[in-house]
């Protein structure tokens, strides 16, 4: 009897271990494919050209393999998105954690999180068919495809990531800290800004970086509304193309597998992976460095 229970226990542990191992293997597999195809790519294209050429036209007769215009597009839309998501997300988090009564918090928080549940293709058409025409009333020189409108919409999409995670970490700040500050005569705003936000900093920073990773990796919104035109610029009013949008564009076409054109998407994907991986490490280090331990 005892033996069979132990055996069962073992089997369950084994199954759990295998499923954990499974996702590790998938990750390793993805990295292996990326590295393999990227290696094939760099056998034909010099890495210096890849990093310094200012044009990206691998599908055309005048071939250039400079990734800079694509990353310019990615960083431009990401910067715009974060200009929207960071302040709005942080302020809503402070409001929800420090000001909102519990009843209101229980309603608003799930509602904010619904924003994250909207499919990104819907956000894409929302940017193209609603936000862009709206912005054109204010900025007449805005192109129909541009970085500004998908950037803003991406920011809206990312608000719940920032607000929800920041709010969680603010909520976890012990009441004792707040009460201590109140006892010293601090106002509610002072408590929020000088006690709660600094104490929750590691969580807030992690939410910021998660938001940035989300923006860097976002695909559908920019593929639909940003213009699919690789261009090295910081002007948010003209068509651009991001790394992710390029990968979509090539995957949708009939570029034959194994060609140099086909490998460009792996080189682009690898570069993107390096960037998001660096962001993840940064977030991990930040969280560790600024972690406040209460016990």
């Amino acid at each position: 009897m005892r033996g069979s229970i132990r055996l069962k226990e073992r089997a369950i542990e084994g199954a759990l271990f295998l499923s954990a191992l499974f996702s590790v293997f998938i990750t390793l597999g993805i990295i292996a494919v990326l590295v393999f195809e990227t290696y094939g790519f760099f056998k034909e294209v010099s890495i210096i050209d890849f990093l310094t050429d200012t044009q990206w036209t691998p599908l055309f007769s005048e071939k250039h393999f400079g990734i800079l215009p694509l990353f310019a597009g990615t960083f431009l839309t990401t910067a715009i998105a974060m200009l929207v998501a960071l302040p709005v997300g942080l302020i809503s988090a402070i409001f929800l954690s420090e000001y909102a009564p519990d009843g209101l918090r229980a309603i608003i928080k799930p509602m904010l999180e619904v924003l994250a549940a909207v499919p990104t293709v819907v956000y894409g058409y929302f940017a193209l068919l609603f936000v862009t025409p709206l912005l054109q009333n204010i900025i007449p020189s805005l192109s129909g495809f541009n970085a500004l409108s998908p950037g803003i919409v991406m920011g809206i999409m990312i608000i719940p990531i920032v607000s929800s995670l920041s709010e969680d970490s603010m909520h976890a700040v012990p009441m004792g800290l707040r009460e201590g500050a109140y006892a010293l005569g601090a106002t509610k705003l002072q408590v929020a800004m000088r006690v709660v936000v600094p104490s929750a900093f590691s969580g807030i920073a992690a939410s910021f970086i998660l938001g940035i990773s989300r923006a860097v990796g976002e695909t559908m919104v920019v593929a639909i509304a940003a213009g699919l035109q690789p261009r090295l610029t910081v002007n948010p009013l003209v068509p651009i193309e991001t790394v992710t949008a390029y990968i979509v564009q090539v995957s949708l076409g009939d570029t034959p597998a194994g060609t140099l054109e086909y490998r460009t998407i792996f080189a682009a994907g690898m570069s993107l992976f390096v960037v998001t991986f660096a962001l993840n490490i940064l977030s991990y280090l930040l969280a560790k460095r600024f972690r406040e331990v209460y016990d």
């Binding site: 200012t54 044009q55 990206w56 036209t57 691998p58 599908l59 055309f60 007769s61 005048e62 250039h64 193209l128 068919l129 862009t132 025409p133 054109q136 007449p140 020189s141 192109s143 129909g144 495809f145 213009g227 699919l228 035109q229 690789p230 261009r231 003209v238 068509p239 564009q249 949708l252 076409g253 009939d254």
Partner: protein, 333 residues
Amino acid sequence: MKRSITALLVVITALIMSGRAGSAADLIKVDGSSTVYPITEAVAEEFQKTERGNIRVTVGISGTGGGFKKFCNGELDISDASRPIKESEVALCGKNGIGYIELPVAYDGLSVLVNPKNNWVDSITVKELKKIWEPASQGKITRWNQIRAGWPDKEIHLFGPGVDSGTFDYFTEAIVGKGGASRGDYTASEDDNVLVQGIATDPLALGFFGVAYYDNNKDTLKLVPVDDGNDANGKGPVLPEYGNIVAGTYQPLARPIFIYVAKKSADKPEVKRFVEFYMKNSGELSKEVGYIALPQKAYELALKRFERKLTGSVFGGHGATVGVKIEEILKRE
């Protein structure tokens, strides 16, 4: 845009239905050029109505190149093409043993378009188009005043079909002089509705696509007459209108468009009925969607060709062929 959303819904519904209804209805699979799509779609709609839903026709828009790729892999019954089949595709079809029957369905005037707010362009020459689109212009010709003195010192935003598109192949062949030779720094999409949307919302835009997409969006686009500098083909700038295309003066951008029927599929009764229906109604329906119908005789000859299952291309498998006038189509049959 609305159309592509509708198309998406249709596809989704079709997918759901196909899961449920199984093989209750015969299915004809068509894919390829987005230029030919409006005609094939119109024919398919009418056809499905007359067949009372017993035969289903799905029409995709992978571009001419994308369509031929699937076609030569035996995935399609019919491939829509806005240029004749080219060598690499002939080879692929040959390798896989796919015979094809080439049928011209209409004439297109490949159109050059700008935004209606553009008040400086009232015509453009073939030379200027070449200067805009040739590979050497990449990253260099970026402002309107570089193309013609007197045009404003403003950025030019270019829109065009992607490299899988037959329209792209034809345009580069006709304008730049070499099929596939184009600059790469423009907004490229195989979906013409994306190009329409881009040009309609950008005052600095210039782009090109099949005339049917202009026909559907006359209020939001401005059509530009093209001057080929050859007075034998009509003096001065010419618009892609019915009379000019029939008379052969809209050169070099007037071109025949095709469907390619797989020889194996031609034996299926539903495909046979569809192609016969296509040849009988294409004249009427191509006019309706904005293209130029071929003379009645051409459809009759094409139908005969289909009935005799004559495979191969009258264009010799060389891809985009510039300057084919309507009467030549008849001669080549």
